[in-house]
Symmetry: C2
Subunit: 228 residues, 2 copies
């Protein structure tokens, strides 16, 4: 089945959701053709891209080779590929309650981990690259919001007796969360410092997905002031 269902995968490894999907595709060996698309060159907003790949003008996106079916939004893609290909159950469990727990994090993170980590990096790191000014007060407010969110994850979501976000096994929630939490390294902020549970969890995700995790983060870490 999988052989006939190859996809074209449009991504840029500077983007957290792209990295999560990259790792998933490598881990599950779903046949795919890599189509690197440079965000810094606005390749994701050309009329051609909007028409033939993703009308939302965002990355990542996939196009099925055979059917031409187009799909955007990393989490929608992760769910779709988990259904369409035979991938190990732990990534997106068939058990209804375990699946609900994975979904709960994936929905929660949009207005929390993603909003705050990506929001801070966008303002402090990407903005200046595009010639935008940084106001110290705004940067500090965004930094505190990010810290509060990461502290909440440390205190409320991660547990010493539960190795992964949604339970005993690694799932797509861990990929999405880990790639997001790595992003502030671009600003020199390391989410692991002072957070022992987060440190141990990130290490587990990295080890489980070795060497794909490192491959996904190589480009990003090249831009980070302190390479971890």
């Amino acid at each position: 089945m999988a052989a006939a269902r190859g996809i074209r995968f449009y991504y840029d490894l500077i983007s957290q959701p792209c990295r999560a999907l990259y790792i998933f595709l490598e881990q599950t060996k779903i046949p795919h053709q890599k189509c690197p698309t440079a965000l810094r060159k606005w390749e994701h907003t050309t009329p051609e891209f909007l028409r033939t790949v993703n009308r939302f003008g965002k990355l990542p996106a996939i196009v099925e080779e055979e059917s031409g079916f187009k799909l955007a939004e990393s989490i929608a893609i992760l769910r779709y590929l988990s259904r369409e290909h035979s991938v190990p159950d732990h990534w997106y469990p068939r058990d209804s309650r375990r699946r609900a727990r994975v979904d709960e994090y994936l929905e929660w993170q949009h207005s929390n981990t993603r909003l705050h980590c990506a929001g801070y990096v966008r303002y402090v790191w990407r903005g200046p690259l595009r010639g935008e000014a940084v106001e110290r007060q705004v940067a500090e407010r965004l930094r505190l919001e990010m810290i509060a969110c990461l502290d909440f994850i440390e205190s409320n979501l991660l547990r010493e007796d539960v190795p992964f976000i949604a339970g005993q096994d690694i799932s797509i929630a861990d990929l999405v969360a880990a790639c997001e939490v790595e992003q502030p390294k671009l600003t020199g902020y390391d989410a692991r410092v002072g957070r022992p549970k987060m440190t141990a969890w990130l290490q587990r995700v990295k080890e489980f997905t070795h060497p794909d995790y490192e491959a996904a983060h190589k480009v990003m870490l090249r831009f980070a002031p302190t390479v971890a």
Copy 2:
């Protein structure tokens, strides 16, 4: 099955995701006990609520009567209930590609419809209720971001030949989208004005879910300067 799987439903109808879930529960007749929880009284953040209902301290949330299983995040709940109860297929289609199209909107909206509509309402309407100052320049920026997002939906997501967001049939994507798009009415902003496709689509959603749509929005519209 359903009778033995009743849930307790914690909600406040001033909240868009709560209204979407409220309409879904009424439409599908999933047995549930209504547990109104007042956001304005911070009832969603009491130690009791965090411990027994939702550790995230948010609404909506559900607790299964029999099993005690707790679940947060409206979209995770909508998916879970669609699996666990026998609900009409159109709400969350079993067909993989149709489901992916519903998921695509549901993931996209977090950083778009929800971020911008809720963000504007929070700053301009809820902030002052809590004694927070409103800076004209910030309000105007948020308003323009909301307008750009609503215009994108009008031009790119809604189509004259496709009655609902994800295709020919109404789905949970429409409930989530419609409840969000109604929210700016609290500030006197009507998303339908100048947007004929949005006007027609909202009317279809309202008619399909009558009278639950009206019941869900009654409380909110009482606070809106121009009752529509």
